[in-house]
Symmetry: C2
Subunit: 335 residues, 2 copies
């Protein structure tokens, strides 16, 4: 297939990042060109400027919470991203791997390096046990590379099996894998993704070495797809007895009038009035006046698949009580 004929989706690079894993999960490489860019702003810029058809950005992590850079771009305080819509979501279970080069001279094949137990210390009196064992000997490992956050998520494994190894913090887990791929001594290892093992041709020395088994990141797919139907019309009568199409979510952002006490509760009650379940709420500084906020609410329901008019009803009500507001998108729920 000729390059350049495929539509392009941009994602937060570098190659082999967890964003790369997410974009591969949602977009077929047969049909899409996957383009890594340097920052979250770059993803928004390339979509807004129609250099690409879609973009993928991290939105929240189940351990660390919301990604404020993405919220700030969705807040769109200066109108730079006026055509951006949220069109989908992707969940990636973050499993860290230990990548490096197997020690071919070693006779140990049972992964029995280290005791697998942790010594209680004054600062950590009850260290947690690692969830997994190494897949092969780690006795030859002298240097360990990764992103600081990944080190923080793999404490038990490191203290059980990599005691005394020198630790180097780098800008991303995929950068760590790249460094290890260029090591000719065979003594470097990286905490990175299984995708990085494939891309950089590294051996898997440990799998799922993270402390928590439920570490998940949710990504959003963005585009320029407002697609309002031609017969758009506000339906004002709520029907509260039946459910909306299961599996849709929508996002709106709004501000509240500063001189109106109770305005935030009033906007939030719009969803309740139409029996729309809220699934997340976030806020960021408005940067208009200190301690005024832009709120982001996700709720169940789809603006363009809304037979009972509940989403339309809620949006209509919000338009009357919010200071300003914007529908950011509706999409198929993935979990």
């Amino acid at each position: 297939m000729a390059s350049g004929t495929k539509p392009v989706v941009s994602f937060l690079g570098p190659v082999a990042s967890y964003s790369h894993q997410a974009v591969r999960q949602a977009f077929s490489e047969d049909e899409w060109e996957l383009r890594p860019v340097v920052t979250i702003d770059d993803v928004f810029d390339t979509v807004q400027d129609q250099e690409v058809k879609a973009g993928l950005v991290p939105f929240e992590n189940s351990t660390n919470g919301s990604v404020v850079f993405t919220l700030d771009d969705l807040a769109d305080r200066d109108g730079r991203y006026k055509d951006i819509t949220v069109d989908g979501e992707v969940y990636v279970d973050v499993h860290h791997c230990l990548l490096g080069h197997k020690d071919t001279s070693s006779t140990t094949e049972d992964g029995a390096d280290g005791s697998g137990t942790c010594t209680p210390t004054a600062t950590d009196p009850s260290p947690s046990r690692p969830r997994t064992k190494p897949l092969s000997s780690l006795a030859h490992i002298k240097r360990l590379y990764s992103h600081p956050q990944a080190f923080g998520q793999c404490n038990a494994f490191i203290s059980a099996y990599l005691k005394g190894v020198e630790v180097f913090e780098v800008s991303s887990t995929s950068k760590a894998a790249e460094i290890v791929s260029k090591d000719e001594t065979g003594t470097y290892a990286a905490i990175s993704s299984s995708l990085a093992a494939q891309i950089y041709g590294l051996d898997m020395l440990g799998r799922s070495i993270e402390d928590r088994s439920d570490n998940t990141t949710r990504f959003l797919i963005i585009g320029r797809n407002p697609t309002p139907p031609a017969d758009w019309e506000i339906v004002k009568t709520p029907t509260t007895t039946t459910t909306t199409r299961p599996g849709s979510k929508s996002m709106v952002s709004f501000t509240v009038p500063h001189d109106s006490p109770g305005a935030l509760a009033e906007v939030l009650s719009c969803f309740q009035a139409f029996n729309l379940n809220l699934t997340s709420i976030n806020s960021r500084p408005s940067l208009v006046k200190p301690f005024q906020y832009i709120f982001f609410v996700e709720f169940e329901g789809h603006r363009h698949d809304d037979p009972e008019g509940r989403v339309r009803g809620a949006l209509d009500k919000i338009s009357r009580v919010a200071g300003s507001w914007r529908w950011l998108g509706s999409w198929e729920r993935q979990r």
Copy 2:
């Protein structure tokens, strides 16, 4: 006065930090010993363990948003901080200063170094003008020290008056002032607070050099002061026509039952039902299951000065609809 007889308040150090400025604003040094500690966790630990009577932590900045470390400690997922209450708030207007040593050999006294204009470039086609001019000549400055966030907040001043000066990022604005205070060449400068100028005996070379004039941080005072009145009793009849005592705020945290759609809206409606205005809402991962949250809501009203029983009524209702919940404190509003 003998040391050790005064009650102690801990704050996020080091000395001369903006937290130090906040603690001095709220606590008299005649009556309190102000003790810097290293982390936000340390402030919570010293209060919970009764090593100190009160603590002060940053909660939100008007430009950067919430401080997640403070929210995570208030979330108290493992019961470490079960006795902590929020007892007050302090606002500090963050004004950055340029600190150093005046050039005594210079004849320039009008602060006319540099043009005060910014050259448009490809990456910044419309640079903003600095809000203030230097207080004395900056021609001798060769090195500039500060925290990365402070550099980011003083772009216009730096590009107008400190072009070509070598920039060094350090861990805090007060650390920067300390480094400059030890410089014997007289050519170093720091972006730091006016308090740091006093404490480290530095000259003020520029004042309010930040890009935005409304950069404010809100701090919380924490203690162990639940003080429920002896005659505590839930009053169930809301009175919606009169107002609560002006100038009080309260904070609660809560989770919502996962199997109950609409639960978040239902909890939030408890405040509206008793006409209590919400002033902020935040969420953090619950760390029980992915994408379940602990919510933090601040609202107007005081649990212990609640003649109409509105706060009691709302809390009673919350206790019936939330998964779990905790009253974190009530205090006098400062702004």
